[in-house]
């Protein structure tokens, strides 16, 4: 995990962190990603004095995307998920990369119908939609055998 901090004259604190998840135990399993993500964001949000909604949106986006990569589809070829975070004032830039099967969260997940009444709402299918709605400036590219996703999170959009 790398750490860099920079205090500006304005009082805004830039915080950078990285997290690499790989098949690290003797059974070739990934570590439990959610506590690692939560701890990383708690630490960054304290250093950067983020509003609560920014921390929660960032946590939700990372949970949805990382769990999707680790558990959906064919994960046999997946060896690493990397997360790079860089906060500036009250926004957070997220860069995610993995060597799993191609998955473009901007195009490969159906749009949920939010107008359906309670009993017709399907269970599930909201995770990627929440990411697309809470995230801004989303960019996906498949480069060689890797998925790359960039996005920006702000406390309100």
């Amino acid at each position: 995990m790398s750490v860099a901090r920079c205090q500006h004259a304005t009082g805004a604190v830039e915080v950078k962190r990285s997290l690499r998840l790989s098949r690290s135990d003797e059974h070739g399993r990934f570590p439990d990603a959610l506590p690692l993500i939560e701890n990383l964001l708690t630490e960054m949000s304290e250093a950067g004095q983020w509003p609560m909604t920014l921390t929660m949106r960032a946590n939700l986006i990372l949970e949805e995307l990382v769990l999707n990569t680790l558990t959906h589809g064919d994960t046999s070829g997946l060896t690493e998920v990397s997360i790079d975070l860089e906060s500036e004032s009250h926004s957070l830039a997220i860069r995610l990369a993995d060597d799993g099967s191609p998955f473009n969260p901007l195009a490969d997940a159906p749009e949920p119908d939010l107008a359906l009444p309670l009993n017709e709402r399907p269970i599930g299918g909201l995770g990627v939609y929440l990411v697309r709605t809470m995230g801004e400036e989303l960019e996906y590219r498949r480069d060689g055998n890797r998925n790359h996703l960039k996005l920006v999170v702000r406390p309100e959009s």
Binding site: D32, L34, P35, E38, M52, T53, T55, M56, R57, N59, L60, E63, E64, L67, L114, A115, L116, P117, L118, N119, R121, I123, G124, L126, G127, Y129, L130, T133, M134
Partner: protein, 109 residues
């Protein structure tokens, strides 16, 4: 996650606090459904202490809301924190589940 509950007449108020994510959502569902009694006609879920919810937690709330609706029981949620309210708004859950500012409002609603 931590739970408290209080029953008065046919009204059950369940308070849930902490975080609900992909790691504990199925425990959340089991705990919640374990508290329901056949005699409960009105269930109020107080989420005032819930700091975080992801789509895994929303799935549980939707399952609970649909099950209770099929049994013609009243289900409402109250006291959302800012972060959880944000997720409710974006997912449209505030349009399909009755959401109240406080337990008192939910009891009167």
């Amino acid at each position: 996650m931590r739970f408290n509950h209080e029953r008065s007449g046919d009204t059950l108020v369940v308070s849930a606090s902490g975080r609900v994510d992909g790691s504990n959502a199925s425990d959340f569902l089991d705990s919640l459904q374990g508290l329901f009694d056949p005699g409960d006609q009105r269930i109020i879920l107080d989420l005032g202490g819930l700091e975080y919810i992801s789509s895994a937690g929303l799935r549980v709330l939707l399952m609970a809301a649909q099950n209770l609706d099929k049994q013609q029981k009243s289900f409402s949620i109250c006291s959302l924190t800012e972060a959880v309210g944000d997720v409710f708004r974006i997912s449209g859950f505030d349009q399909i589940i009755n959401v109240f500012p406080s337990v008192e409002d939910a009891k009167q609603g």
